[in-house]
């Protein structure tokens, strides 16, 4: 074999001073001499373990923090809201079988008057007891203090809103409560699991600078809204083993006379849904990515270690000739695997913990979970280690067994010249077109097609990882274009505090700068199909609307049928319905009619869960006539600020949103999560590409050293010989690229399926840019590996190679 130059005197002294057994000393020295290869294998292992430790570890930390938070804050299991009920009803709620605890409160929306904000901001006012703490849905005061009895103007602000507006305890805030402007004293800043994400009405995403939560004493808030001794929101903590559906049914029956809007379980609570969606995405990323990486690492270990040990055939024979048993020889060579895995696992664990800590640092700003700390479960690490070790062993074992099974004399003899024959490509006549060097490369690839294929597959995974790492950008770009340029074409969305008569559209149209008005109606409803039911808001839209249209995934406009519902694909899947089915629609407002409605269409959309209907058809369901919840406006850009100010003055207006600000919020929310991963992935993919190509070329160099040396002796220049050696790696890399694209495309599809949440679906779009990037990074990594091996090729010792047999 081509002997690496002996180097590292310090290392030699170290091994000598350790007084190791000769075989172990040989192991250490050879690991040192093969340090480039060993390190690249170890890095692949490190990569696999690091993804597990980082991604899965941070997911587990998030889940742990979420559970603790929910428990500590006594987060409710069942939620409902109603028009008004006397406080005495609470005892009846508590008496429902399966209810462990019940709590009531007053909640309402009010306009906030904030300086420096030309669009109105909204506050969701939530009552809290002045004495003691809420039975359920407690809040965590992070700064300042809790409200005190007998101080009716004290409020606690939600943290994200306070931060977005730069408000602190000691400041005041002006709100228009029930038509009266009131100055409120901010005494504390708090968070609560109920409002981890605070989404304003009519919006799909949080807008923290325009919408916040204000907690206020019940005795102060109640009278302000004519809720003295009454409540309009109730919550339940279930007793263990309770039948959730039965409790919800009983609660609905109890509250129906009081204008109940229908109870729902925690899994439908808006903030929880969003948080859970985020965590689910995290789970998918935290499971799929490490699985892919670990799988690839195991595969590479198998491949590379097997070939590495196969080149040690002569040494295995010599050891056997000296009288070492097969198992001793086997153990010695398996130790190569152990060393690689040990080094890799150490790097991977330390790196993974550091990176996981950094991940959690980002999540801490993003997820609003108190005492979110990175913690690694030893079980997780153990699993990752075992998988790596078994991968390394399976690769090493085959090669060792093959070498050890030969009688020593035979193994010591050089392997007979490898058998070659013209391959398929040459039989097709392509060979004649190639120079001798081309034929050598081709035949080497064709002689061991499985090895070439497996190597290609290894490199292909690096391409695939880059594809799945970056295709999400393409999806998000597609989504942004679709949602904010094709679906939401209005400049301003106005939502009203209460439903208003359709005649308001004329008032809006008369406002300065308004060029087009389209009205909408949001009607809360429960859709039921067989056993499956789901609460949502039916969105009534104008039949010939231009500002809001239903756009299919492919970008086409789906006309709104005169009758029947058009559902988001996600909602249709939840309900198990297809076009043509009839669902039972139970309106949760007004006369609460129950009607059967046909599903007129299903639309692939990416944001939120929607049920669209012609506004007139919706009016027939609600039994109302021309009632609207809000309007979409087209405005002249120069008038926009003035118009915002004017809308803010209208008491009936609850919110003014604009797709532009939603887009900004959305981009911020998406960006972090995606951007973190990409740098990470480029690094990991490079490690994999280098792991395969560098090892492949190094092993080829030791397998074919004498062949290449012969060519140099015959007068071939270094460059010509390098082409022969690296040409094969080049072919493997080139084959890997399309293969990697296919694998990446498939994995991307799996991720798209896994990352579906109610708030957000990633469109399955992979742009040419992503394919190009994945190919480019892989090629660069391969070229770098090639250059590293080329240096060794240049210093090939011609004489010693030719003088020795093996």
């Amino acid at each position: 074999m081509v002997g690496p130059r002996r180097s590292g005197h310090a290392f030699e002294r170290l091994t000598a001073s350790l007084a190791l057994r000769p075989l172990n000393r040989k192991l250490l020295r050879e690991c040192w001499h093969l340090k480039g290869q060993m390190l690249s294998i170890a890095l692949v292992v490190a990569t696999g373990i690091m993804t597990v430790v980082t991604m899965r570890g941070s997911y587990e930390s998030l889940i742990g923090a979420q559970q603790r938070y929910y428990t500590d804050m006594r987060f409710a299991d069942v939620w409902t809201s109603l028009r008004r009920a006397p406080e005495s009803l609470r005892e009846q709620i508590e008496a429902i079988p399966g209810v462990a605890l019940a709590d009531t409160r007053v909640g309402l929306l009010a306009t906030l008057d904030l300086e420096g904000l030309d669009a109105p901001a909204q506050g969701r006012f939530v009552s809290i007891p002045e004495t003691g703490r809420p039975v359920l849905n407690d809040i965590l005061v992070k700064r300042g203090r809790y409200v005190e009895p007998g101080a009716p103007d004290e409020v606690i602000l939600s943290e994200k809103f306070a931060n977005a507006r730069g408000l602190n305890p000691g400041d005041t805030i002006r709100a228009i409560i029930n038509g009266r402007s009131r100055e409120l004293d901010i005494v504390g800043i708090a968070i609560s699991p109920e409002h981890t994400y605070a989404v304003p009405p009519g919006s799909l995403l949080p807008e923290d600078d325009r919408y916040g939560v204000l907690w206020m004493g019940r005795r102060a808030l109640g009278p302000a809204y004519d809720m003295d001794g009454a409540f309009n929101e109730a919550f339940i903590k279930l007793s263990p083993g309770a039948n959730e559906l039965a409790v919800i049914d009983a609660l609905n029956r109890l509250l129906a006379p009081y204008g109940g809007f229908g109870a729902y379980a925690r899994r439908d609570q808006a903030s929880h849904v969003m948080l859970q969606g985020e965590l689910d995405q995290n789970r998918v990323m935290g499971t799929a990515m490490p699985a892919v990486f670990l799988g690839v690492a195991v595969f590479l270990l198998h491949l590379v270690l097997g070939r590495l040990i196969a080149t040690q055939r002569g040494e295995i024979a010599v050891l056997k000739a000296f009288g070492y048993h097969d198992w001793e020889v086997g153990r010695h060579f398996l130790m190569f695997a152990v060393v690689a895995v040990f080094v890799g696992a150490t790097i991977g664990t330390v790196g993974g913990i550091m990176l996981g800590d950094a991940y959690i640092g980002v999540y801490r700003q993003y997820f609003d979970l108190p005492d979110l700390e990175y913690s690694l479960s030893p079980g997780l690490l153990l699993v990752a280690l075992l998988v790596s070790v078994s991968g390394a062993f399976s690769g090493a074992l085959g090669a060792v067994r093959k070498a050890a099974s030969l009688p020593p004399a035979e193994a010591m003899r050089a392997e007979p010249p490898a058998r070659f024959e013209p391959g398929l490509l040459e039989q097709l006549g392509i060979g004649k077109l190639l120079p001798a060097s081309g034929r050598m490369i081709l035949r080497n690839v064709e002689r061991k097609p499985l090895q070439a294929f497996l190597s290609s597959l290894g490199v292909a995974f690096s391409v695939a990882i880059l594809v799945i790492g970056t295709f999400m950008f393409d999806g998000v770009n597609h989504l942004i274009d679709l949602q904010f340029r094709q679906i939401q074409r209005e400049d301003i969305t106005v939502s009203f505090l209460q439903n208003l008569s359709g005649g308001v559209r004329h008032d809006l149209a008369r406002l300065e700068g308004v060029t087009r008005v389209e009205t909408y109606r949001m009607a809360p409803a429960r859709l039921r199909f067989g056993h499956w039911s789901r609460e949502t808001a039916i969105q009534g839209m104008e039949a010939d609307g231009q500002l809001r249209r239903i756009i299919t995934a492919t970008g086409g406009v789906q006309p709104l049928p005169a009758d029947g519902l058009v559902l988001s694909r996600v909602l249709a899947d939840r309900l198990r319905v297809t076009t043509g089915d009839t669902v039972v629609v139970e309106m949760l407002e007004g006369r609460r009619q129950i009607t059967s409605v046909r599903i007129a269409g299903i639309v692939e959309d990416f944001l939120g869960v929607s049920a669209y209907m012609n506004i007139d058809a919706l009016h027939r369901l609600t039994g109302e006539h021309d009632v609207i919840s809000g309007a979409y406006l087209s405005v002249t850009e120069s008038e926009r600020s003035a118009l915002n100010l004017e809308l803010k003055q209208i008491p009936a207006v609850a919110g003014v949103a604009s797709p532009a600000s939603m887009l900004a919020s959305f981009e911020q929310q998406m960006a972090q999560n995606i951007f973190i991963s990409v740098g990470f992935l480029v690094g990991f993919a490079s490690v994999i590409a280098v792991g395969v190509v560098y090892n492949g070329a190094r092993i080829a160099l030791s397998e074919r050293g004498r062949e290449l040396a012969s060519l140099r002796v015959m007068g071939f220049h270094r460059r010509e010989v390098a082409v022969l050696l690296l040409g094969e790696q080049g072919i493997i890399t080139m084959l890997a690229i399309p293969l990697g694209w296919v694998i990446g495309y498939g994995l991307a599809w799996m991720m798209v399926q896994g990352l579906q949440t109610d708030t957000f679906r990633i469109p399955y779009v992979v742009a040419p840019r992503t394919y190009m990037l994945s190919a480019l990074v892989t090629i660069l990594a391969a070229v770098a590996s090639g250059l590293a091996v080329r240096r060794r090729l240049d210093s090939l010792d011609l004489i010693s190679v030719l003088k020795t047999r093996e």
């Binding site: 010249p417 058998r419 001798a436 034929r439 050598m440 002689r447 012969s710 007068g715």
Partner: protein, 247 residues
Amino acid sequence: MTIANTATRRPVVLRASKLCKVYEMGEVSVHALKDVDLDLYEGELLVLLGASGSGKSTLLNILGGLDVASSGSLFFQQQGREQELSRASQTELTNYRREHVGFVFQFYNLIPSLTARENVALVTDIARSPMSPEEALELVGLGPRMHHFPAQLSGGEQQRVAIARAVAKRPHILLCDEPTGALDASTGRLVLSVLDRVNRETGTTTAIITHNAAIGEIGDTVVRMSSGEIVERHHNTQRANVEDVQW
């Protein structure tokens, strides 16, 4: 038809004077060559004899441009031009090997992925005025087997392919390092007769290294080396027939 008597009158191809080669092995210096003077004449068949470690391979490697001497000089002369190999760069040495030298080794060093013809073509592709691969293989008696891969050839046949590969570019110098070392006597004799024939028919200056003294009989000049020095030189008045050599 012997040319031995006139050998000394022919032009010199390689002139080595005071060649020394010292290998630094850690703290020990090994003197592999000590002040070797040697001239190689055009068309001559030189046999270099010596035991293992006598320095004969080191000398051959330096003559062939595979290695450079620690001191002393080596000139390659051809058509009135002279090149000092002892001062040549790596690229110049590669070009020297590429254009002027053919090598034959104990372990044939054929490229397993190429057929006999293609192994020869590998060299003729980069040579200036080579013979055709077919012609070279006919010369070593392997015309009918030229489409076989190394794995399909016997050891003797593989060595003959190696010789064909070495002579196909019409080198000025053919250097053979223990060409029969891995072969049995009768196959070895066959290979030697091929070398002998190539030398006679093409007039290629040929140097053969061997530890087998009997082979010395087939050369024009026999040089014996020991401990890095030339200890004996003599000229055979008559080159023996390869078939008559016994070992």
